[in-house]
């Protein structure tokens, strides 16, 4: 099969960068797509390892539903796929060794052994899961994914988890995270899965776990160029401060040693990356400034899945005269708008954590107002309800923090800003 091609295009925030004697922000948008013969990755066997939190807090419905859901997994996998299950609490245990789906006879009796008791040492579980995948006979011929299920927080081993996942990434392993309930550390999980180009899901209702797992497995099976990474250098004066992946939801991609894992680029759709550059004060006679030099590669060490690397060079002309037209392209404006609600939520959350309650509340009210403007009154009302709770208790409710975060994350990408109305936002009265 002919190898697919990665296509990309760049939209710059403005045609020219204004020379200023103060720092400024500059946005650019990269649109990525995969082209070529379909079936490139979908025909390749998948190897899935479920890494399941079996700590005491999972007792009751959570662990029972997890066990029921895991029992059904073989039915939604292809025969050629491989499944393994490990659990972790204070230590890790292999519940089900890597087995090809068509060879699985009885998984239920293995799963029945799972007991929820003990602490939450995530590194132990991830390491065991990683080992299961790399020791699988078909590892080199398959696409491997860890699906992490947890309801708690790990303490002290976070850096070890990060290192492990970075190693896993270089082995072409992807990771998805599912956070159950409200006590798990979403920021840690987001960063962890982000290093391998994965995403996290928030599961407030444990009974929805089968649907969430089914969707994750579908994602793992999407025909795509897997594990695409951008390695880059920036001009010494320019900092690439943030990269957001805009897909069905907004994800802030962690930047690790001048590389960022974008994840799979599916055939038939596009992935957009919004880059936010921090430009220092410019006092130069140069005609242009180089923003970024880099290349797209895919991480897979499996030769048959590797694509050629694609170089990317981003530069923008400098000017000392502002133009009236074309200040910011509508495409960039749309993209920046799509992340703004999520970022407002993040900013409010940070203020409330710092004890700046009034500031945080004001931001949440502003967020609710923006949501009303965008015709999302239900979420706006939920935020106002949360504001009242915070005013009374000086902190978020058990579910409020994550509900608002994940709702704005999805919403942000769906929300379309009405550019024609940008100058006069009609704000509804509360």
């Amino acid at each position: 099969m002919e190898k697919p091609k990665l296509k990309y295009s760049i939209s710059y925030g403005s045609d020219e960068l204004l020379i200023m004697n103060e720092p400024q922000i500059y946005y650019a948008l990269i649109t990525l797509s995969a082209e070529g013969e379909k079936g490139y990755s979908s025909k390749i066997p998948k190897s899935l390892c479920f890494v399941v939190d079996a700590s005491t807090s999972m007792q009751g419905d959570p662990i029972d539903i997890v066990k029921q859901s895991l029992s059904r997994i073989p039915k939604i996998l292809d025969d050629q796929d491989t499944l393994s299950i490990v659990t972790f609490n204070d230590r890790a245990e292999t519940i089900f060794r890597p087995t090809k789906v068509d060879k699985i006879q009885s998984i239920s009796r293995h799963i029945a052994k799972i007991r929820a008791v003990g602490g939450t040492e995530m590194y132990q579980g991830l390491k065991r899961g990683y080992i299961q995948l790399v020791r699988t006979k078909t590892f080199r011929q398959s696409l491997s994914t860890i699906i992490l299920l947890t309801d708690g927080q790990t303490y002290g081993d976070e850096d070890m988890c990060f290192r492990l996942i970075k190693n896993a990434r270089s082995d072409g392993i992807n990771i998805f995270g599912v956070g159950i309930g409200n006590e798990w550390n979403d920021e840690f999980i987001d960063e962890l899965v982000g290093y391998a180009g994965g995403t996290s899901a928030y599961l407030s209702d444990i009974y929805k776990l089968p649907i969430v797992l089914s969707n994750l497995i579908k994602m793992a099976h999407i025909d795509s160029i897997p594990q695409v990474t951008m390695r880059f250098d920036t001009n010494s004066r320019v900092t690439l401060s943030n990269i957001f992946r805009l897909e069905r939801e907004v994800s802030l991609l962690p930047i690790d040693n001048n590389q960022v894992c974008i994840g799979a680029i599916p055939f038939g759709s596009k992935i957009q990356l919004l880059l936010e550059f921090h430009i220092p004060s410019l006092n130069t006679d140069e005609e242009e400034v180089c923003l970024l030099n880099g290349k797209f590669i895919n991480n897979s060490y499996k030769e048959h899945l590797k694509i050629q690397s694609y170089s990317i060079n981003m530069k923008v002309p400098l000017t000392s005269t502002p133009k009236k037209n074309g200040i910011v392209s509508s495409e960039i404006m749309q993209s920046v708008f799509s992340i703004s609600l999520y970022r407002m939520q993040e900013a409010a959350r940070n203020e409330i954590r710092k004890g700046e309650i009034n500031k945080g509340i004001r931001m949440l009210r502003n967020l609710a107002n923006q949501l009303n403007v965008q015709g999302k009154p239900a979420l706006a009302s939920r935020i106002i309800e949360e504001v009242l709770f915070i005013e009374n208790t000086q902190g978020y409710s058990t579910s409020g923090e994550k509900q608002i975060k994940y709702a704005t994350r999805i919403l942000s990408a769906e929300t379309q800003v009405d550019l024609s109305n940008m100058k006069t936002k009609k704000v509804k009265l509360k």
Binding site: Q24, I332, S340, M344, R365, K430
Partner: protein, 147 residues
């Protein structure tokens, strides 16, 4: 540095939306390169039966001066209209000219701002016209563009 026209939050040049209130910052950029504002806002003080004209700028701060506060920060000073008794704050609200008309922004006033009887959120922009009765504390005003 950009000052958000809606909430006064400081942002780096190049930002497109305010990280504090979500307002668009593009208007500021466009305004900066547009010609000087020539439109006139008429402010009717309904409780004292007076009208005041505001012109030559894009934004007008409404409030009530006190001896310790320089009057120059205010474009419309309600001190002379018994602003204290009506509960007008020192910097109460702002009127802003936009292409399509006038916007009102409450500047986090103590006694709040109301449009047609409904309280508005501070730092957020609300479109107003000659049909809206605005209340600054208890002081009722109406704003419109001069023909």
């Amino acid at each position: 540095m950009i000052i958000c026209p809606s909430c006064k939050h400081e942002e780096l040049e190049g930002r497109i939306f305010c990280s504090n209130c979500g307002a668009s910052l593009m208007q500021r950029v466009q305004t900066a390169i547009e010609e000087t504002e020539t439109r006139v806002i008429i402010v009717e003080l309904l409780d004292v039966n007076r009208s005041v004209k505001l012109s030559g700028k894009e934004k007008f701060v409404l409030g009530r001066s006190v001896p310790s506060q320089p009057e120059s920060v205010l474009d419309l000073d309600f001190r002379q209209y018994n602003g204290f008794e009506y509960g007008v704050s020192r910097k109460h609200a702002m009127l802003r000219l936009i292409d399509q008309g006038i916007q009102l922004i409450d500047l986090n006033s103590s006694n709040r701002t109301y449009i047609d009887g409904e309280e508005i959120y501070p730092w957020n922009e609300y479109d107003v016209d000659g049909n809206s009765v605005i209340r600054l504390g208890k002081l009722r005003i109406r704003v419109s563009l001069e023909d």
